[in-house]
C-alpha cells in the first residue's frame, strides 16, 4: 500500500515524531509512505498533469529521510489551514480557476479525489485539529480510507482526552510563570500570564494547577474583575514575597462582557494588542493601584522541541494509526480515553465540543483549579 501522510492547522511540537514513527512502522510492514506538503493544500494545489507540481506538493518518506526529524519541533511536511471543500479565490490554484463565477468559496473535493487516485495513494493519515479532521471525514465519506491523528495545543478535539502538543504547551506556560516570579517578587507586583487555548480553558487551568499560580481564569467561566482584583490583592498580602500570579485563557470573558478582542488603545491606536489579558491587566491596575506585569505567551507555547509526554503520545498515535490503516480500517480517529489508547469513529470529532469539566476541576468562586477527586482518574485527570 501507499499511504499519504500530512499535517494541517497550527504546528505543535511532536508532529515530526509522529511522521517518523508512522513512516517507520509502514516501512517495517512492507508499505510505502508519501508525505503530502502543506496539509490539504498539497492535494488541492497538485496538478497531476504537471510533474513539477507533484514534486512541489509531495515528498517521499522513508526511514532514511525521517531518521533525524524527530529531534525538533514544527513539521517537516509544513502545514496550512486550507480546506479543499471551501476554497477562497486567493487560495485557488490557477489551473482550477476555470468556471469561477463569484468570490465565494468553492468545493474542490472532486479534484482532491482525482489527485489521490493519480498519485496512487491507497489511504491517508492526516494529523490535525478540528478543521483538518473535518475534511478527513469528508474524504472518508467519499470512500478514501482515512485514519486520523488529533493534534492541537489547546487539547480541544472532541472524542479524545489528549491531543499532541498540549503537554509541551503547558510545560512552556509553567516555565514562564516560574520565570516571571522573580520579576513579580522583586517589584511586588501582580502578574497576568495569557495563554493560547482558543475557546477552551484547559491550558490555563492545567498551567495554573501545575505552576501553583494563585488564580487561573478559564474560558468556560466568566469572571468578575472586581472580585478577581480583591482575591489577587489578598493573595499578594498573604505571600511573604508580596506578589501574586495568575493565568488567563485568551478566550476568557468578564461577567456581563462579550468576548474581548482588544484592550485600551495603545500608543499606536491599536486595540488588538493583547486581548483579554491586556484588558484584565489594565483594569487590575486601575482597581488595585498596583503595578502589573502582563505577559502573552503566544507562539512560544507551540514552538520548539516536544517534551517527553508529547513524544510518547505522538509516537504511539502514529504507530496505532499505521496499524489501523494497514489493517484496512477507515474513518477512525486514534485517541486516549480514560488513560487508554483506543480508536473511535472519526465522525465524533464533529459531534460536540471539548471543554473543561468545570464541576470536576474548577472552583468558580475562587477562580482557581480545584481537582475534586484524583483517586481512580487517568494520568491527565479526565
Amino acid at each position: 500500500m501507499k499511504i499519504g501522510i500530512l499535517t494541517g492547522g497550527g504546528d505543535v511540537p511532536g508532529l515530526n515524531a509522529s511522521i517518523k514513527a508512522a513512516t517507520n512502522r509502514l516501512s517495517e510492514e512492507g508499505h510505502t509512505a508519501l508525505g503530502i506538503r502543506r496539509g490539504w493544500a498539497g492535494l488541492l494545489e497538485c496538478n497531476p498533469d504537471d510533474p513539477g507540481s507533484t514534486e512541489r506538493c509531495t515528498t517521499p518518506l522513508n526511514p532514511a529521510v525521517v531518521r533525524t526529524i524527530d529531534r525538533s519541533g514544527g513539521t517537516v511536511l509544513h502545514t496550512s489551514r486550507t480546506n479543499p471543500a471551501k476554497v477562497k479565490p486567493a487560495d485557488e490554484p490557477e489551473f482550477l480557476r476555470e468556471g469561477r463565477q463569484d468570490d465565494g468559496p468553492r468545493d474542490h473535493t472532486a479534484h482532491t479525489l482525482k489527485v489521490i487516485e493519480r498519485l496512487g495513494i491507497d489511504a491517508l493519515i492526516p494529523i490535525g485539529g478540528d478543521d483538518t479532521l473535518s475534511f478527513a471525514l469528508r474524504l472518508h465519506d467519499e470512500g478514501v480510507p482515512v485514519v486520523a491523528i488529533p493534534k492541537t495545543m489547546d487539547n480541544d478535539v472532541h472524542g479524545t482526552d489528549y491531543c499532541i502538543g498540549f503537554s509541551t504547551a503547558v510545560t512552556r506556560a509553567v516555565d514562564a510563570v516560574n520565570q516571571l516570579r522573580s520579576s513579580a517578587g522583586s517589584h511586588e507586583r501582580l502578574a497576568v500570564v495569557e495563554v493560547f487555548g482558543r475557546y477552551s480553558g484547559e491550558t490555563s487551568l492545567i498551567s495554573a494547577y501545575l505552576s501553583g499560580a494563585e488564580r487561573g481564569i478559564i474560558a468556560e467561566v466568566p469572571f468578575d474583575i472586581e472580585k478577581l482584583a480583591m482575591l489577587l490583592t489578598q493573595d499578594r498580602e498573604a505571600n511573604p514575597s508580596r506578589y501574586a500570579m495568575m493565568t488567563i485563557s485568551e478566550g476568557a470573558t468578564m461577567v456581563g462582557g462579550e468576548m474581548v478582542v482588544g484592550g485600551k488603545e495603545d500608543a499606536f491606536g491599536h486595540r488588538k494588542l493583547g486581548g483579554i489579558g491586556q484588558l484584565t491587566a489594565e483594569m487590575l491596575k486601575e482597581i488595585t493601584g498596583l503595578e502589573i506585569i502582563y505577559q502573552e505567551l503566544g507562539y512560544l507555547m507551540r514552538s520548539g522541541s516536544p517534551d517527553s509526554l508529547d513524544l510518547m503520545v505522538a509516537i504511539n498515535y502514529a504507530v496505532m494509526a499505521a496499524d489501523l490503516v494497514v489493517g484496512g480500517e477507515s474513518g477512525r480517529l486514534v485517541a486516549l480515553r480514560n488513560g487508554n489508547y483506543v480508536n473511535v469513529p472519526l465522525a465524533v470529532t464533529g459531534q460536540g465540543v471539548k471543554r473543561v469539566d468545570v464541576g470536576a476541576l474548577y472552583d468558580t468562586d475562587s477562580y482557581r483549579p480545584k481537582i475534586r477527586h484524583v483517586n481512580g482518574k487517568p494520568m491527565f485527570l479526565y
Binding site: A176, L180, S186, A267, G298, Y299, S303, G304
Partner: protein, 347 residues
C-alpha cells in the same frame, strides 16, 4: 581610609530586576562580612529602604543559596531619593545606621541618582545592571547575557513554527533606546533581519530583503525587532510613546504596528511574538553570575579604597572602575557590530 576603619556598609538594588543581582549581593557580603569583617546592611526596595531606613542585616549565612536565583532578595522600587528628602535624608539615614558607605546596584536611573549623591559628598559606589546593556562606561551590565540567552532560545524555537507555516515571524525584544539585546540575540539565533534603534529602518527595504529570501527558496523569515526600533525619517510615522515618571518613553508595540504592513507589502503571512518580562526573569546564565560576582568583589575593594563616586565596570574583559558621573549615559550599539550582523541579512 584603610579596611580596619570600616565597620558597616549598606547595599541596595534599584530599578527593574534582572538575573544576577543576587549573585552581586552575595559577593559583596562574602567579601565584606566573610573576609574583612565589615557588617553589611541590606536596604529593602531600592531607594525606598534608603530614605525610610528600612534595612535587614546581611550575613554570610543569610546570603547562602541565592547565587542562582533570579530577581533580588532586597526588592526594588521606582522611588527617587531626590523626591524623598534628597541628599540630606540619605546622609542622615546612613549616619544614624552607622553605615559608612553605600553600594548601589542599578541601571541608568539608580546610578544617576548615585552619581548625584556622590557629587554631594555621600560615600557611594556603583555596580551596573540592566538587561538592556545600554550603560556607557562598561562593556557589559549584569542581566544582559541572560536576557540574550532567553531571546536566543525563543528565536530557536520560533524557527520551527515559522518554517512549518512558511511565515514571517517578528520577535520583539527589550532594550529601550538601544539595540543590544536584539543584535546579540539576532546574531546568536541566526535572525534574517535585525531592526535596532541605532539603524532607522525603511519598511520597503525590509520587505525587499524578505522577498529576496523567498525568491531564493527560503519560505520563512525571522526578524528580531528591538522595542526601540525607529523607522527612517520620512517613511513610517510612529505615534508618540507614553512617558514614564522620569520622562523616558515606555516602549513596546512597534512590532504590532509594522506586522500588518509587512504582510500587506509582501503578502507573506506575518506573526508577532513579544518576549516581554520573561527576558528579565528566571535563572542567571553563568556569564552573569561571574560578572556579578566580580563586580561585587570590585565594589567592596572600591569601598575599602574610599574611591567614592566610582563604579565597577568591565572593559575588554578586565574589571576596572570608572566615574559614576560618566557611566550613566546611553551607549548605542557600535556601527562595526551592526555590520557583522548585516552580513547575514542578504543570504
Amino acid at each position: 581610609m584603610g579596611a580596619t576603619e570600616l565597620r558597616r556598609i549598606g547595599i541596595m538594588t534599584g530599578g527593574g530586576d534582572c538575573p544576577g543581582l543576587n549573585a552581586a549581593i552575595r559577593a559583596v557580603v562574602r567579601k565584606a562580612d566573610g573576609m574583612l569583617g565589615i557588617e553589611v546592611l541590606g536596604f529593602r526596595d531600592g531607594w525606598r529602604g534608603v530614605v525610610e531606613a528600612d534595612v535587614e542585616p546581611l550575613t554570610v549565612e543569610s546570603v547562602r543559596g541565592i547565587l542562582h536565583r533570579g530577581g533580588t532578595i532586597l526588592g526594588s522600587s521606582p522611588v527617587n531619593p531626590f523626591h524623598e528628602g534628597g541628599v540630606e535624608r540619605v546622609r542622615a539615614v546612613l549616619r544614624d545606621l552607622g553605615a559608612e558607605a553605600l553600594i548601589a546596584i542599578g541601571g541608568e536611573g539608580t546610578l544617576g541618582a548615585a552619581a548625584q549623591l556622590a557629587t554631594e559628598g555621600v560615600p557611594v559606589i556603583g555596580i551596573p545592571k540592566t538587561i538592556d546593556n545600554d550603560l556607557s562606561g562598561t562593556d557589559y551590565c549584569i542581566g544582559f547575557q541572560t536576557a540574550v540567552q532567553i531571546a536566543t532560545d525563543a528565536i530557536d524555537r520560533l524557527h520551527t513554527t515559522a518554517e512549518s507555516h512558511d511565515r514571517v515571524m517578528l520577535l520583539e525584544v527589550m532594550g529601550r533606546s538601544a539595540g543590544w539585546i536584539a543584535l546579540y540575540a539576532g546574531l546568536a539565533g541566526g535572525a534574517d533581519m535585525i531592526l535596532i534603534p541605532e539603524r532607522p529602518f525603511d519598511l520597503e527595504d525590509v520587505c525587499t530583503h524578505l522577498r529576496r529570501r523567498h525568491l531564493r527558496g527560503h519560505r520563512f523569515s525571522i526578524v528580531v525587532v528591538a522595542e526601540g526600533a525607529q523607522p527612517a525619517s520620512g517613511t513610517l510615522k510612529l505615534p508618540a510613546y507614553p512617558r514614564d515618571a522620569r520622562g523616558f518613553p515606555r516602549y513596546g508595540g512597534i512590532t504590532q504596528l509594522i506586522a500588518p504592513e509587512i504582510e500587506r507589502l509582501t503578502e507573506f503571512e506575518t506573526r508577532v511574538t513579544t518576549l516581554g518580562h520573561v527576558q528579565r526573569g528566571g535563572t542567571p546564565v553563568a556569564e552573569d553570575r561571574i560578572l556579578a560576582t566580580r563586580f561585587g568583589i570590585a565594589a567592596v575593594d572600591l569601598v575599602v579604597a574610599g574611591a567614592w563616586g566610582r563604579m565597577a565596570a568591565t572593559r575588554g574583559g578586565r574589571i576596572v572602575d570608572v566615574a559614576l558621573a560618566d557611566a550613566a549615559k546611553v551607549r548605542p550599539v557600535p556601527e562595526d557590530l551592526y555590520r557583522v550582523a548585516e552580513v547575514f541579512f542578504n543570504t
